[in-house]
Symmetry: C2
Subunit: 224 residues, 2 copies
């Protein structure tokens, strides 16, 4: 099986980490470490030590640790859209298309061997815990101009399009979609840490219940 790579926005990195051994180790190990330590406790120094390299070398791939996070999360959105494309391409009915999207969004994330160097399960935990740090920063507008949020925006646009096929008069398509994308992660976080804020429980069925919640919210919101 060929190892696929995503073409991510140039500004996310200094040197493309997908093209070298060291780059791939940086991605691989940083996912592991951010997942374990949390983004605040994670440092390039610690990462360098773990991959038997140096801080300086890592800085040759990523301008700073925030851009690395932007990179990883952009990768995640690309991966999600790639999965959504797989599961919607053969579907004609827009309602079924939307259901397929929601299934991909709500499903438990597991290691995808198509991308050897990425542990999607850990990456999903990173997205859950750190997503907001990508855009909730004084630099948003600049990042946005550089196109660093292209992955999320593209996904949002795609799903909004499907919703408008179902009901062309629905006024809030992009708001509903961004709400769904963000809340899917948030509800899983609440299930683990703030259970009073969610109807989900920290059990294996939570992904199914999350799907039910999102499907109910989406289809009822958009009905004419």
């Amino acid at each position: 099986m060929p190892t696929l790579t995503f073409k991510l926005n140039d500004h996310l990195y200094v040197r493309d980490p997908q093209h070298t051994q060291l780059g791939l180790r940086i991605i691989s190990k940083s996912i592991e470490m951010i997942d374990e330590l949390g983004f605040e406790q994670f440092t390039f120094k610690k990462l360098a030590h773990e991959i038997d390299s140096t801080e300086a070398s890592i800085y040759r791939y990523f301008e700073n640790k925030h851009r690395l996070l932007l990179y990883l999360i952009a990768w995640y959105w690309n991966w999600l859209e790639y999965r959504i494309d797989i599961f919607t391409s053969a579907v004609a009915d827009p309602k079924e298309k939307l259901r397929a999207c929601l299934r991909v969004i709500a499903e438990e994330k597991k290691y995808d061997p198509t991308f050897e160097f990425v542990n999607e399960e850990a990456l999903h935990r990173i997205v859950i815990a750190e997503l907001d740090k990508t855009y909730l920063t004084k630099g948003v507008d600049g990042y946005n101009q550089e196109g660093l949020f292209g992955g999320l925006k593209s996904l949002c646009k795609k799903i909004s399009g499907i919703i408008l096929q179902i009901n062309p008069t629905y006024e809030f398509a992009p708001s509903l979609v961004s709400t769904i994308l963000v809340t899917a992660n948030q509800q899983l976080f609440f299930a683990n840490h703030l259970p009073t804020l969610t109807a989900l429980k920290a059990d294996p069925e939570r992904y199914q219940k999350l799907y039910n919640f999102l499907e109910n919210m989406a289809f009822r919101s958009i009905q004419a």
Copy 2:
């Protein structure tokens, strides 16, 4: 008019800032500064300088800057619930009650002279930009045990109760409410910075449109 104060959880502070001049200045000025600088750029050293005090003195009120943020945002949720109580107490019909809640949640936040030392407009911007930093941290579980998220949880419970009055069979009440509370802020942020992710525009009518979005989503989701 008497100046009201909220009884906030003891663990949020070392010494209660509402009881002293210096404490009130810390609250007042920190809101201003976090709003301007963002939470990352904000430091106790800078704050000390602005209020003509010292770093050490501020540490006598707040264990660290993260607890100060928790304090401010807890205050905000208390204030929101207080406003919701005002606007729902006289209303009998649960549907109207829910509408009143959504109006308070979606409305433009303005300075409330009941609380002289708090600029609610700035505080709302802080909530929009920094809310997630209160719970998206490795320390959540500890904070939660200390009861530091009581304000948000209480609000969520109250509104969930109203929803269950409208439809006792709705399965996802707390999820819907937490989604609404979080998304209300998020959509306003997107309107200002990532407009492709929202149907709102960065204009004065955005609060009305936000209300419409939330009302549509809420009432349709919970209908039997």
